[in-house]
């Protein structure tokens, strides 16, 4: 098996006594969009800065395309970064910003101009070539930063919160643009973000980080549907969580006693589960159904609508369970007639599929 394109091997970074990154090991393939996802202070930016060469790891090694990056200064790395603030040079035009890195390349002036034009075309900014950064919009600035970082054809592009400074509409549009540019250029992208939606739409794989360590790595659907820990489950999307005790196992199905529900429920078993074990039962709001009449099947619990938020295309309910605990239910408003929708203080039944319940060890 060939060595991975980018190999981060047991990398740690300490600032004094504070350990910003602890023993991170990751393998990233050529041409992948990889997301480092985590809250502020989780070490994702420090890891990115070590890849760029602005920080040296306190321990561990980084190999890029077979080359050990230890001790290689930022200006010699085939790695470019798109900064969160974009860091465009205010005293240079858009064109000179994009062409800045190219003066270190063995190219003729004509070749350089061609490359700059190609890059500006790629991000559709050719008409603004002579403007200065403060004369263009935030979205345009973001694209200049992208063009500048791509101009030298790096092996690896690092994007630090690439969409954080854009408004919501523009963000959605830019997300797809980033993906299409990645596809066309074939450059490996590493995206740092605190926004789980951004990570999920952009990335082929996500590494969820917390307190300097990687908690889970996998494709978006896997990380979302099969979170490995309570932290990951909480960080990606919302969850209702309940204490549960395993009462029995029947093949792939576990029977559990959930005090909050006041009834026994079934869930998909997790490996090495044993009766008597105390677990957390987690339910994503969209995996729970809400009914006026008692539905058939297992995992049915009675409740009362305590709160509801109507968003148009869908609604979010907060249902009080018999014991007083709350569960969130997310329902799509597939019908126009509102009289069938549960209302405040309606007595309702909620139900979920055994395969939809997530069991997490504490």
């Amino acid at each position: 098996m060939a060595a991975p394109f980018l190999r981060i091997e047991g990398v740690s970074k300490r600032f004094g006594t504070f350990e910003a990154v602890r023993d991170v090991t990751l393998s990233i393939d050529r041409g992948e969009i990889f997301a480092l996802l985590g809250g502020s202070g989780c070490g994702k930016t420090t890891l990115l800065r070590m890849l760029a060469g602005f920080e040296e790891p306190s321990a561990g090694r980084i190999h890029l395309d077979g080359q050990d990056m230890t001790g290689v200064p930022p200006w010699e790395r085939p790695v470019h970064m798109m900064f969160q603030s974009y860091a465009l040079f205010p005293h240079m035009t858009v064109e000179r910003n994009v062409g800045y890195g190219l003066k270190h390349e063995p190219m003729t002036a004509a070749q350089r101009a061609d490359r700059v034009r190609a890059m500006l075309d790629l991000v559709q900014l050719a008409p603004l070539a002579q403007r200065r950064p403060h004369q263009i919009s935030g979205g345009q600035r973001q694209r200049v930063a992208l063009a500048r970082a791509l101009a030298r054809q790096p092996k690896l592009l690092l994007l630090d919160e690439p969409l954080a400074a854009l408004d919501k509409k523009l963000r959605e549009h830019t997300q797809f643009e980033l993906m299409s540019i990645q596809e066309r250029t074939g450059v490996t992208f590493i995206v740092v973000t605190h926004d789980q939606e951004e990570a999920m739409t952009l990335a082929d794989r996500i590494a969820v980080m917390d307190r300097g360590a990687v908690q889970q790595v996998g494709p978006p659907a896997e990380v979302y549907e099969h979170p490995a820990s309570r932290f990951v489950a909480n960080f990606l999307g919302s969850m209702s969580q309940f204490d549960a005790v395993v009462t029995g196992i029947e093949g792939a199905t576990a029977r559990l006693e959930v005090p909050a529900f006041g009834t026994a429920i079934e869930a998909q078993a997790i490996p090495a589960i044993a009766p008597g074990e105390r677990l957390t039962l987690a339910l994503r709001p969209e995996k729970v159904a809400i009914h006026h009449d008692r539905p058939e099947g297992p995992n049915v619990v009675a409740g009362e609508v305590r709160d509801l938020a109507y968003f148009g295309k869908d609604s979010l309910y907060r249902v009080t369970l018999p014991t007083g605990e709350l569960i969130a239910v997310h329902a799509v408003n597939a019908r126009r007639k509102g009289d069938k929708r549960p209302d405040w203080h309606d007595r309702v039944w909620i139900r979920f599929d055994p395969a939809s319940a997530i069991l997490l060890r504490r």
């Binding site: 760029a52 060469g53 602005f54 200064p73 930022p74 200006w75 010699e76 790695v79 470019h80 970064m81 900064f83 603030s85 860091a87 465009l88 040079f89 205010p90 005293h91 800045y100 890195g101 270190h104 200065r132 403060h134 004369q135 500048r148 970082a149 030298r152």
Partner: protein
């Protein structure tokens, strides 16, 4: 009437008054004195007190002082010496001050206040006292001069040995003390402009393949031009008109214009000549200031530099 006045005052009075204050200040304390000096420069010398008189024939102007200004070698030479001294002092201040200002911005936050204090600390002592301290240092019999003399004599062949290093009453001493005096005026505006720069820009340039020296030339230096210009003017303008330093540590052979103006007023009692020189110096200094003003206006036209 009083009611209307009060109404006007409440509506616009305050803002008009606040805007007018600096103008009143400038008119009373700059424009009027300047006009008096300008008028004196075209008056005639007279054996009265004060020693000048207006009037005479139409057009009631006596251009004699200005004629002498452009024909007499002494005045042109002192203007040139002043500009050269001020230019050299400004360049040296920039050379010394830039690394200091840059160092200040890179110092740890807690240290910065202390270091900035050290930059402005000399202002707490009387300027004259500090010049006298330099005179003491440079004088023939000072420990400093004796140390330099011994060093010099140890290094050069015997026939070039000196009894003392000639420091006092040289043009070198004038430039040296001017650099010492005006250095903070260079450091502070430079620091202000360097401190505003975004360090991420340095990282971006490094990331795109530039070594630190290149980063300085491409990113830091061009963005600090406003600071360089401001510091340069703050040093150059007072240095060009400097009176005290050339009087105390300079020599008569290389006169600076400030000293010449003072001598014309006090020794020669030729007030029209002194006034003409003062007007000429002002015009000479207004040109770079106006250039700076235009530069600033253009920079503002370009908008926020960030």
């Amino acid at each position: 009437m009083a009611g209307r006045l009060a109404a006007w005052f409440h509506r616009r009075g305050w803002s008009d008054l606040i805007v007018a204050l600096p103008y009143l200040w400038l008119v009373a304390l700059f424009l009027v004195p300047f006009l008096i000096v300008a008028a004196m420069s075209v008056a005639s010398q007279a054996p009265t007190a004060p020693p000048f008189a207006f009037g005479g024939d139409y057009p009631w102007i006596n251009p004699a002082a200005y004629v002498r200004l452009v024909t007499d070698d002494l005045y042109l030479r002192s203007f040139l010496i002043s500009l050269a001294n001020a230019g050299v002092a400004t360049a040296l201040c920039l050379l010394l001050g830039y690394p200091m200002a840059l160092g200040l911005t890179r110092a740890p936050r807690g240290w910065r206040t202390v270091l900035l204090m050290l930059v402005i600390l000399p202002f707490w002592t009387s300027f004259l006292l500090r010049v006298y301290a330099w005179m003491g240092l440079m004088g023939r019999s000072s420990w400093f001069n004796r140390m330099l003399t011994e060093g010099w004599n140890a290094l050069v062949p015997i026939d070039q040995a000196v009894a003392s290093v000639p420091l006092m009453n040289t043009n070198f001493a004038v430039v040296l003390v001017m650099v010492y005096t005006y250095l903070p005026f260079m450091i502070l505006p430079l620091y202000a402009s360097l401190e505003r720069l975004d360090p991420t820009l340095d990282e971006a340039a490094m990331d795109l393949g530039s070594r630190p020296a290149r980063v300085f030339l491409d990113v830091t230096l061009p963005q600090s031009v406003p600071g360089i210009v401001a510091g340069g003017l703050l040093v150059f303008i007072p240095a060009a008109g400097e009176l005290v330093i050339p009087t105390l540590v300079g020599n008569a052979g290389t006169p600076m214009i400030g000293r010449v103006i003072s001598d014309e007023f006090a020794q020669a009692r030729d007030w029209p000549m002194a006034s003409a020189l003062a007007v000429a110096l002002l015009v000479l200094m207004v040109v770079p200031t106006m250039l700076y003003g235009r530069h600033q206006a253009r920079a503002e036209g370009r908008g926020d530099p960030r």
